[in-house]
Symmetry: C2
Subunit: 413 residues, 2 copies
């Protein structure tokens, strides 16, 4: 057969996805498969079983990252890699992460069934703890593998019950011996749901992010004066919640007027004493700002901060700000991004370049290897929720793009 | 001696207050003496011991309300009553409640030491659970005594550890046999700190509230759409926290423009999922509105509610509102309020009429007996906090006003 006509088996992909969705299934139709939980182990066991069925060489490193290697004609050449993560958010969806692993599995099954010989080895990967919901921060497996984090520091991270990452990794039997250390990679592809509404709104099937936005996290602490609400006149109050409400709207307005070039969100707020009849005197809220344009974030944050200062002054509520996290935007490999778009085009799938608003393992990978991602539509733009959904047709389309991108890279000498 | 020249002993009042402040003392200089706690029992025991020293007839009713009765010349006449509550807020202050009990105690000691005979009996009272912080709602002791609440319902109220009011009352040994049922009262005086900044700002020493404001409580539930913050554009978001922030400011603005005739506060907010990188989809906040003018509250709430609807519509975040509590304003007895002001004037204390923005046992008492309150300044207007403070000089002044108000009422045939 002409390799150009090769297609993955959409039905088999769906079956694999559905079997995985049963592990950690929630009553509302989502999935809860927290990192290093029993559900994570169960899903890993199934994944490894499927890798064995194709006689892949299985490697598990000290971080619990699972690799399955299919040899090429020339195993001295650096491999092509593809994968994502098996873990989920608490009450998360059935597609986030797992689609990239099952998509790569389906690609390898297709290559295996058709006994296609590639020049380079192909490695499928499941990265440990992408979500970071149980053990913060996120994206730890690929973070250690690419040299950003220290293994021992990650081992010492604890969940809310005080359980340590290292011990939980050992407990589920996935603490491997292979050092979690990068090797040369010819190309890394990560297939993922978009987690936003852009593709669906525009009727596109495939998105090729040119990279991941920069992310700034701030923690804002607002101080007011607690008092009995009844006897305290409005005039002269220092209401920390009113001051925070103004600041939250300042964040929202500043982002909204950038016309889609920046998003900013207050997702978390803690109010104290949080009593119906006491004026709030302590509020802590978070700010998350993201954009492809690092400079735009700096300017927007500057504007927000000036707004905060004016509100704090006017309300008599002094603020303290902590800069919690700051990463620059991560561009992917231009050649590979172009390949994703061209492949989608050749396969007849409407497509568009875009940016990824969320972090992914591909972010770390792009620091050490040419990297690209393939996005498929999220229905209603919903993600990290139990109703997260993508049509099986789109899942199949994305896997076909992944197949031909991997083949092109793996056939390169 | 001419009874007009009689004065209480300020030093002795201070000593009693300081001894009480040691029971449940907090490191930051406040008091935590929750209803029916061991600290409450300890303070009650001390109070009862002091009542016995004056040979008062001690009565404890089924609600744990403690009464100490000093006979008059004609014990067929209805008594004059005075008192307040011994219990405190969690991490509360050293004056709220206890000043009214120790003030009345000092008045009785002064009358006792001077062997003054009154026409009518005088009863000092400690009402159980005014604060309502451990067992909700508040003002339960006087609420049952005046016939507003049922004893058995109150007994079944539980604290956050599931302990029942009735069992805790039994445990601390203050479940009396006397039915908690009102008797005719000639006049009820309650001496209390202002808990607001008005007297201090105007350099007044004595305030005579003409009554207690009306209080409306609402619970507002705002529904948005949860999503990953990064990939979700600003446009089309349904951010429940942004909608709530606008509503909180609407509450604040509506109250502020009434020029001091109404206060409104959002004291409590719960945000869900309250995660830094997820757009909030569920917010619950409370609204507390108070005014002397019931109609003004109804109009203000109507304006807030219309504002909420417009915000909900514009942000795509539907709301649900629960009306949680609603009491009309409570006027005190005009003659007694006038007496408080005139007595303060005669004693040379700068004074003013005002309204009470907070609820008190006097609120229930005024439903069954002529009632008035005596307020003294709260330093910085602070209350329900550990730094709550009132000068000893002002404490003495208030007790002198209480003394002469009680004497006037008790000398009436």
């Amino acid at each position: 057969m002409d390799i150009k006509n090769l297609r993955i088996n959409g039905r088999r992909l769906q079956d694999a996805m559905e079997e995985m969705a049963r592990i950690g299934k929630t009553p509302a139709g989502g999935v809860q498969r927290l990192t290093l939980s029993d559900e994570d182990r169960q899903a890993r066991d199934l994944f490894v079983k499927w890798l064995r069925e194709m006689d892949l060489a299985i490697m598990i490193d000290e971080m619990g990252n699972i690799f399955g290697k299919r040899p090429g004609k020339n195993n001295d050449l650096s491999p092509v890699m593809a994968g994502s993560h098996i873990d989920s958010q608490p009450k998360g969806g059935r597609f986030d992460g797992i689609l990239g692993v099952m998509g790569a599995l389906e690609v390898l099954r297709t290559i295996h069934d058709n006994t296609i010989e590639t020049e380079r080895p192909i490695i499928i990967v499941d990265w440990t703890n992408e979500e970071g919901s149980r053990f913060a921060p996120a994206v730890l497996g690929s973070g250690v593998w690419t040299g950003t984090w220290e293994k021992d520091w990650v081992y010492s991270r604890t969940d809310i019950h005080g359980k340590r990452f290292g011990e939980e990794l050992e407990r589920i039997g996935y603490r491997g011996r292979l050092p979690a250390k990068k090797w040369p990679v010819h190309a890394y592809y990560e297939y993922h749901i978009e987690q936003g509404p852009v593709l669906e709104r525009e009727g596109k099937v495939i998105g090729a992010p040119k990279g991941i936005v920069c992310i700034h996290w701030y923690d804002v602490y607002v101080k007011g004066t607690a008092n009995q609400v009844g006897p305290t006149p409005m005039e002269g109050r220092n209401d920390a919640l009113c001051a925070s409400a103004e600041m939250i709207l300042k964040v929202n307005e500043t982002a909204t007027k950038t016309d889609g070039n920046l998003v900013a969100t207050v997702g978390e707020i803690h109010n104290s004493p949080n009593s119906r009849n006491i004026i709030p005197d302590k509020v802590h809220f978070t700010v998350d700002i993201r954009s492809w344009d690092d400079e735009l974030v700096i300017r927007a944050w500057d504007e927000m901060r000036k707004g905060f200062d004016a509100i704090a002054e006017q309300r008599g509520c002094p603020i303290r700000i902590e800069e919690t996290w700051k990463v620059k935007h991560t561009p992917f490999d231009e050649k590979l991004v172009k390949r994703v778009l061209e492949t989608a085009q050749q396969l007849g799938y409407p497509n568009r370049p875009m940016v990824s608003g969320a972090g992914h393992d591909a972010g770390y990978l792009s620091m050490v290897a040419p990297t690209a991602m393939i996005f498929v539509p999220s229905i209603g733009g919903r993600s990290h929720v139990e109703v997260e959904n993508t049509s099986w047709e789109d899942c199949e389309a994305g896997a076909n793009v992944l197949l031909h991108c991997i083949l092109q890279s793996a056939l390169e000498k």
